[in-house]
C-alpha cells in the first residue's frame, strides 16, 4: 500500500522536476479484487494493483494536469513536463486561484474507514462467500449471478503551499441476482467493513423475491402509488445531485436555477451531505485537499444551500446569481482541477422521518400500488423538470388491499424527480444503500403517490 510517507517522498521528487509557480500532486489507487459469478459458477475473478500520480502545474492563471502510473524518476519528470507544457500555452484565467494552503484542511472529525478484516480477504474467502450464495440458489432451484468485491484504496493531495491530505480506506461489496425461469430477485450491500456484509442473508432475500415474482402478470401502465426500496430511491435521486454545485448554477444547467429557497419538494424531505456520517464512505477532503463540510442541502423540502469548490465560491460571489442561492461558502466538494463540473455532493444522507415505516408497513397501508426492488437504465429526459426514464427490474410486485399480490411485468417510467419528492407519503429509516445508476447513499425506502409508469415490457 502506498503510505503517507511514500506519498510525501513522491511529492518531493515531483517538486525537484517542477519549474511552475505552484504545483499540486494527487495520488490515488490501491488493490482491488472482484469475484464474479453467474450460472452458479465463478466465471470471472480478477485482482489488480495500480497507483497513479497526477501533477497539476500552475503558472499565473494557467493550469493543466498530467497523469501517469509510472513512479520512476524519468516518468515523473516527463509527467511534470507534460503538465507544464499544457499549462504554458493557455490564455491566462484571472479567476484561477492559487493552490489551497494547509489551513484549508482544518481539523475535523476523524473518519476511520480502513479495516484489516476487509484488507485481509483472500480469493478463497470470496469463493467461500460465493459458495454460500450458490447453495441458497441450488436449494431454491434458482440460478444466481453477482459479485463479491473487496478493495484497499488510497487518496492523497499534496501541494507546494504545504497542504498534505491523505486518506486510506477499505471497501467490500456483494451483489446477488437470483434467476427463476420467468422472474428474478436482487440485493446488494456495500460497507468499508466486510463484517457488515452477510452473503447468505442477501441471497435469501433475492431468492424470495425471485420466487414471489414468478409468473408475472401484465398490469396496465398508468399512475400508481409506488413503494420504492432504498436502492431504487438512490438510483433516482442520484440524478439531481450533479446539479447541486455552484458551478451548475453559474452554467445555468441546473434544475435549481431560480428554485433555491422555494418549496420544491414535500415538507417531509430533508437532505444533508455528510461525509462524517457513520454509514458514509470516502475521504474527508476534496480534490484540492479542502476539508469537506457537512451541508444541509434541503430543509423540509426547500433547497437551501449548494456546495462549492474554492474557485466556484469566488465566482459565485461576483455573479448575478449570488443573491438567489443562499449562503456562499467553500464546502470542500470540489473535483480535481482543472474540470468543467466544479463540485458535487457525494455523501448524501436523508434525514429520518419522525415516524419511519418499514416496507411491510407501507405495503399494508396501500390500497393499490407497485412495489419496486430496483431500477435500471435511468436517463434524464428533461434537465429542468428533471423527468427521468428507466425500467423496473428484478422484483416488481402488484400491491392491492394492503398485500403484495403477485409479480408483474416490468414497467417503463417517465417521472419528474421533483414531483416524486413532492409526493412522498411515507418513508423508512435511512440505510446505506447501493444501486447501479448512482453512488451509494444513506436513503430511506419511500412510498410515492402517482408514480408515472408509461409502458410495460414483455417480462
Amino acid at each position: 500500500m502506498l503510505t503517507k510517507d511514500k506519498a510525501q517522498g513522491t511529492f518531493d521528487r515531483v517538486k525537484k522536476f517542477s519549474t511552475a509557480d505552484e504545483i499540486e500532486l494527487l495520488i490515488s489507487g490501491g488493490r482491488n479484487a472482484l469475484t464474479r459469478f453467474a450460472n452458479n459458477t465463478i466465471h470471472q475473478n480478477v485482482a489488480e494493483e495500480n497507483y497513479v500520480l497526477s501533477v497539476r502545474s500552475v503558472f499565473e492563471g494557467r493550469t493543466a494536469r498530467a497523469t501517469t502510473n509510472r513512479f520512476d524518476d524519468e516518468s515523473v519528470r516527463r509527467c511534470v513536463l507534460a503538465s507544464e507544457d499544457l499549462a504554458r500555452v493557455q490564455a491566462q484565467d484571472p479567476d484561477l486561484l492559487p493552490v489551497a494552503g494547509p489551513e484549508a484542511l482544518s481539523e475535523g472529525p476523524a473518519v476511520g474507514r480502513a479495516f484489516v478484516e476487509t484488507a485481509g480477504i483472500t480469493p478463497a474467502d470470496r469463493a467461500e462467500g460465493v459458495a454460500k450464495i450458490v447453495q441458497v440458489a441450488k436449494r431454491e432451484n434458482l440460478t444466481t449471478a453477482g459479485i463479491y468485491a473487496t478493495s484497499v484504496s488510497v487518496e492523497a493531495v499534496l501541494n507546494s503551499r504545504g497542504l498534505c491530505a491523505y486518506h486510506t480506506q477499505t471497501s467490500a461489496e456483494i451483489s446477488v441476482t437470483m434467476l427463476a425461469p420467468d422472474s428474478s430477485g436482487w440485493q446488494k450491500a456495500n460497507s468499508p467493513d466486510v463484517r457488515n456484509l452477510n452473503p447468505v442473508a442477501l441471497a435469501e432475500i433475492a431468492a424470495r423475491k425471485a420466487r414471489e415474482s414468478a409468473a408475472p402478470q401484465e398490469q396496465a401502465p398508468g399512475r400508481y402509488t409506488a413503494i420504492l426500496e432504498p436502492a431504487a430511491v438512490l438510483d433516482l435521486c442520484g440524478f439531481m445531485f450533479w446539479d447541486w454545485g455552484g458551478q451548475a448554477i453559474l452554467d445555468e444547467r441546473s434544475f435549481l436555477n431560480n428554485r433555491i429557497a422555494t418549496q420544491l419538494f414535500g415538507n417531509n424531505v430533508t437532505i444533508f451531505d455528510d461525509v462524517y456520517h457513520a454509514l458514509q464512505s470516502g475521504a474527508p477532503f476534496d480534490g484540492e485537499g479542502v476539508r469537506r463540510q457537512r451541508v444541509e442541502l434541503v430543509e423540509h423540502g426547500v433547497p437551501k444551500r449548494l456546495v462549492y469548490a474554492r474557485g466556484t465560491a469566488e465566482r459565485m460571489r461576483k455573479s448575478e446569481h449570488t443573491a438567489k442561492v443562499g449562503p456562499v461558502e467553500v464546502t470542500g466538494h470540489g473535483l480535481p482541477l482543472p474540470n468543467e463540473i466544479g463540485e458535487i455532493p457525494l455523501n448524501i444522507v436523508f434525514a429520518p422521518p419522525p415516524e419511519p415505516k418499514t416496507v411491510e408497513q407501507m405495503v399494508a397501508n396501500t390500497e393499490r400500488g407497485v412495489l419496486i426492488t430496483r431500477l435500471w437504465y435511468i436517463r434524464e429526459v428533461d434537465p429542468y423538470e428533471k423527468i427521468l426514464t428507466g425500467m423496473t427490474r428484478d422484483g416488481t410486485f402488484y400491491v392491492e388491499g394492503g398485500k403484495v399480490r403477485h409479480g408483474i411485468r416490468n414497467f417503463r417510467f417517465n417521472q419528474s424527480l421533483i414531483d416524486m419528492l413532492k409526493n412522498v407519503e411515507e418513508m423508512g429509516h435511512p440505510v446505506r444503500a447501493s444501486g447501479e445508476e448512482s453512488f451509494d447513499m444513506v436513503v430511506p425506502a419511500m412510498k410515492v403517490k402517482g408514480f408515472n409508469f408509461t409502458e410495460v415490457t414483455k417480462f
Binding site: 482491488n32 472482484l34 464474479r36 453467474a38 450460472n39 459458477t41 465463478i42 466465471h43 475473478n45 480478477v46 485482482a47 489488480e48 494493483e49 495500480n50 497507483y51 497526477s54 493543466a64 494536469r65 498530467a66 497523469t67 501517469t68 502510473n69 509510472r70 509527467c79 499544457l86 500555452v89 484565467d93 480469493p123 470470496r126 469463493a127 459458495a131 450458490v134 440460478t143 453477482g146 459479485i147 468485491a149 451483489s175 446477488v176 434467476l179 452554467d251 445555468e252 444547467r253 436555477n257 482543472p338 468543467e340 435500471w376 437504465y377 429526459v381 428533461d382 429542468y384 426514464t389 425500467m391 427490474r393 416490468n410 417503463r412 417517465n414 408515472n452 409502458e455 415490457t457 417480462f459
Partner: protein, 490 residues
Amino acid sequence: MSMKEVASWALNVCHARGVQFADCRIVDERQRGLATKNGKVGHAADSQSLGIGIRVLADGAWGFAATEDLARQGVELTAGQAVEIARASARVKQHDVRLAPEKAYTDDWTSPYQIDPFSISVEQNLDLLMKIDAELRAVQGITLAETNMNFRRYEQWYYSSDGADIHQVKYTTGAGYAAFAFAGAEIHKRSYPTSFGGQWQDRGYELIHELKLLENARRIAEECVALHRADQCPEGKFDIILDSSQLGLQIHESIGHPIELDRVLGMEANFAGTSFLTLEKLRKLKYGSELVNVVADARPEHGPGLGTFKYDDEGVPAQCTPIISHGLFTGYLTSRETAATVGLERSGGTVRGEGWNRLPMIRMTNVSILPGENKLSPEELIASTDHGIFFQTNRSWSIDDKRYNFQFGTEIGWEIKGGKLGRMLKNPSYSGITTEFWNSMDAICSREHWTLWGTPNCGKGQPQQVMGTGHGASPARFRGVKVGTAYKGN
C-alpha cells in the same frame, strides 16, 4: 528489457504451476483531453498508463491479475496471484471452461492514420476549440458552450501460452461540441457532430479536418435557441425517420447488446442484464424487415470504427459476422469460451479489455446496418414520406435489461408533411419493442449517406469497463412508431 521478455516471466510462472492456458497483454496507453467552456479552457490533461494483465485457466476455471509493476519480481508475483485466483474460482464451478481452438498468430499492425494527432500543437487545438466556442456564444440566447477534443494512442503486446505474439497500435481521435440555452423553465441542447463528445474514429488528426466543426457552429447554436420557440413533439403513432447517428445508437442498444453471447448465456445477469435473443432464436427469428442487414465487422476494411482491429484480445483475427441477413437473425458476438459453450467451431473475435488492468470480455466491434442497395438520399426519403417526424441527435436513451422495450429522445425533431420538412419540434421521443421496431423499417438511404459513428462510452462488466464501439448507419424510415411517451403525463 523487451515486452516479450516481460511476458515470458509471466507465462513461465503459469507454465510451472501447471495451468491449462495463459495469456497476457501489456498495454501502453497515452491520452490527451482538451475542453473549453464559455470562453475558457475547461481542462487540459495528458495521461499515460502502462501495465500487464495476466489471464490464466487452471483447474478448469479463470483467474486474472494485473499490475503496473513490470519488474521481474512484480510480474512473477502477479502471475502467481492469477493462478491462485483461478484455483479459488475452481471451487465454485459447474463444469470446466473449454475454449474454441484458435491458431497462434505472430503479427504487427497499426491502425491507418495520416496525421499523428499528438503531433498537432496544443495551441492549435485550443485555438480551434476557442473559435468554435466564440461562434456558439455569438448567438443570443446561448447560455453555455462546451467543446472537446480527445486523442488516444493504445499500444498492446499480446502473448499466449499457445505461442501467439501480436503487437497492435491504435490511434483514436474524437471531437465535438454542445450549445445550451436556458430560458424560462426549459434547458435545450444541440450537439455537433452528435452527442457523447461528437464523432470518434480510429484515425489521426485528419478526422478533425473533415468534421467541419467551425463551419457548423452557428447553425447548431441557432437551432438550440430556436428550440425554445418550437412546438412540443406530439403524442401518437407516426412514421419516423432517424438520422444516421441516432440510428447508430438504436443499433447499439437494440441489436449490439442483445447479440452478446455472454449476456445470452447469463454471464451478465447481475449488472448489464441478459438478452431476449435466446439460443433457439438463431436463424429462426425475424428480427427485422427484409431491408435490415446488420454485420459485426471488426476488419479494417469496414472502416476506422472504434471497434476496428486486426486481432481481438484473445488473439483471434478480426472477422465480419452477419448478424441480421434480410431480416433474419443469423449471428452472435462470441469469445473462445462462449463459442465452445454453444458448439461453434471458432470465436467470432470480439473480445476486448478496457486496458491492461481489465479482463477482456465480449464487446461490440463495429455493429453496422448496411446501407440500402438502391440509391436514396435523405431528401428523397423525406419527399416520399407523407406525414412523419424526423429525429436528430440523441438526447436520452434507455432499454430494459433483456433489450425489448426502449425509449429514445433526441435533441431536435422536425415535422414532415406532404414530403417536406415542416415545423421544428422540441423534446421529441419515440419508444417501442425491439423486433416490432426493426420489422417496421421500410426504407434506408444508400452508401453515400452512410456514416461509421463512434460510441466512446459503452459500459459493461464488473468492474465496469468503458469501451468504444462503432456503428455504421444511414438515415432510415420506420412506420407506425409510438412517439411522445417520454412527456406523457409530465
